[in-house]
């Protein structure tokens, strides 16, 4: 990877780490894990289920919030503060800037997820006193959550490359909500006919399929996760991310920085 992309990514990561909002969100995530422990203690025989469900959902939601709120500002803040002028007047291509920003945010989210995952495993150990074989599936669930983050980061960047931060946040969050029901949307499309079917099917396949990436409940219930699903989700997430990033680059390459 070229050095300029690495530098832009590192600087983005450093900005996020030095930004106190990130620390607050980690604290909130840990707090939620604490709540999971509390719920686990008052439940009977379902402590593990509750902790995994609540913990992983918290990891996902906090990560999504961070991805959207940092992602939408990655480009617009640099334009607004004119810091972009001194970057792009150097031998930095616009696509390198977008890819570097994306990787920086993705890296931030991976590190953030790592610390939140420690919280989840800590809470699990606290309620179950030991780890069991099916707990290893939590890693797969965390991996899928990270794949979700990649898609959301790329979408936030795509929207922020042509829209205001507020609208970008609305678009990205809406897509996250709709994408979480992508399976239902696809099911709905099969029930319709004619042009409605075309539109519903098109929309169902256009929105990111976050429901396929959400295996929190399956992991909590110790259901097996096939290797094929892992491969399929990986390819899907990478393809969707690449498409969204390409869109962001295409728009940003033509944008006048006034």
């Amino acid at each position: 990877m070229n050095a300029r992309i690495v530098q832009i990514a590192f600087n983005t990561f450093r900005e996020a780490v030095r930004d106190r909002v990130l620390y607050n969100l980690i604290a909130f995530a840990l707090l939620l894990s604490g709540a999971a422990i509390f719920v686990g203690q008052i439940s009977i025989e379902i402590e593990r289920l509750v902790v995994i469900n609540l913990g992983l959902t918290a990891v996902s939601l906090f990560g999504v919030v961070i991805a959207i709120f940092i992602g939408i500002g990655l480009v617009s803040k640099e334009i607004e503060k004119r810091t972009l002028y001194t970057v792009l007047s150097r031998p930095v291509r616009r696509w390198e800037f977008i890819v570097g920003k994306f990787l920086g945010l993705a890296g931030t989210l991976v590190v953030n997820t790592f610390f939140m995952a420690i919280g989840v495993f800590g809470a699990l150990l606290y309620v179950a006193h030991k780890f069991s074989g099916p707990d290893s599936l939590i890693f797969v669930a965390l991996y899928f959550i990270v794949l979700q983050f990649l898609i959301i980061c790329s979408l936030a960047l795509l929207f922020s490359s042509f829209s205001s931060p507020l609208l970008s946040a609305v678009f990205a969050f809406s897509l996250f909500v709709i994408g979480s029901f992508a399976d239902d949307l696809r099911g709905f499309a099969t029930l319709t006919s004619g042009i409605t079917r075309w539109i519903a099917t098109g929309a169902a396949y256009l929105v990111p399929n976050f429901s396929a990436l959400n295996i929190v409940s399956a992991v909590a219930h110790e259901q097996p996760i096939g290797a094929q699903l892992v491969l399929q989700n990986t390819l899907y997430a990478l393809f969707y991310t690449a498409m969204a990033l390409s869109g962001a680059v295409l728009i940003f390459e033509r944008r006048n920085l006034k």
Binding site: A3, N11, R14, E15, R18, T86, V87, P91, L257
Partner: protein
Amino acid sequence: MVGFWRKRPKRALQPLHLTVEEGEIFGFLGPNGAGKTTTLKMLMGLVFPTAGSARILGKEWTDPEVKAQIGFLPEQPYFYDYLSAHELLDYYGQLSGVPSKNRKQRIEDVLQRVGLTDIKGVQLRKFSKGMLQRAGIAQAILHDPKLVFFDEPMSGLDPLGRREVRDLMEQLKRDGKTVFFSTHILSDAEALCDRVAIIHKGELRGVGAVEELTATVQGKVEVVWQGTQVPASMKALGAECHVSGETMRAILPESQQDAAIDALRRERLRLIAITPLRTSLESYFVEKLQHSQTTAGTTS
């Protein structure tokens, strides 16, 4: 202009033909909103022209190789709050391809040059406007560019800071660099520039060497002598006389120069200087702007 769906395009620049020679300090002058910053942004590839082309250091201005050899200071620069001046320069140094073995020393040299060595570890959010301007200049010259573009480099600086920036620009010229800077402070341009261009409402109004633009006008000379009295013979020549402390100065037609010297000699007054009366850059600038307004009024 505000449209319903998207902003209506506004013509910011008229066709602009300009050549800057290597090794000179070139002033790009114009009132606020004249199109100076837009021109610089186009050259930096930040906004795209609807038509036209430019060459920088003999290459197309869009060539990435060109960007490694130019430095740019935007107007009222603002940098990453959470970085120190040293970290900022390290980041920009890496983006500009400054080799790691030289980078640290180069950063120290540049910080020293702009007077930020003592506060190199302080985060930029604690910097004053003047200090940010210095950091901006530092990042523009960090990678030892052949050509530097400064957009309003004196803006926000106190008189001492302005003097330091002027000295730095002169030093860059001595180092063989080419300096292109925009300003609306004419005294800075007059003191620094080899050549200037005047732009108004996106249109080039005049370009040339400062000496040429401020060359003798109206065929007048200024005669300065010691004393507080104006000889009657000098008055008879139709001179405009002004007293300033222990010296007198008179402005009169060039043809009367010898008669004025004779008059002072007769009165045994000490002649200090005779200089051709030059128009100031400010007068030239105002004249160009007024001329353009008159033309616009006539044509509309």
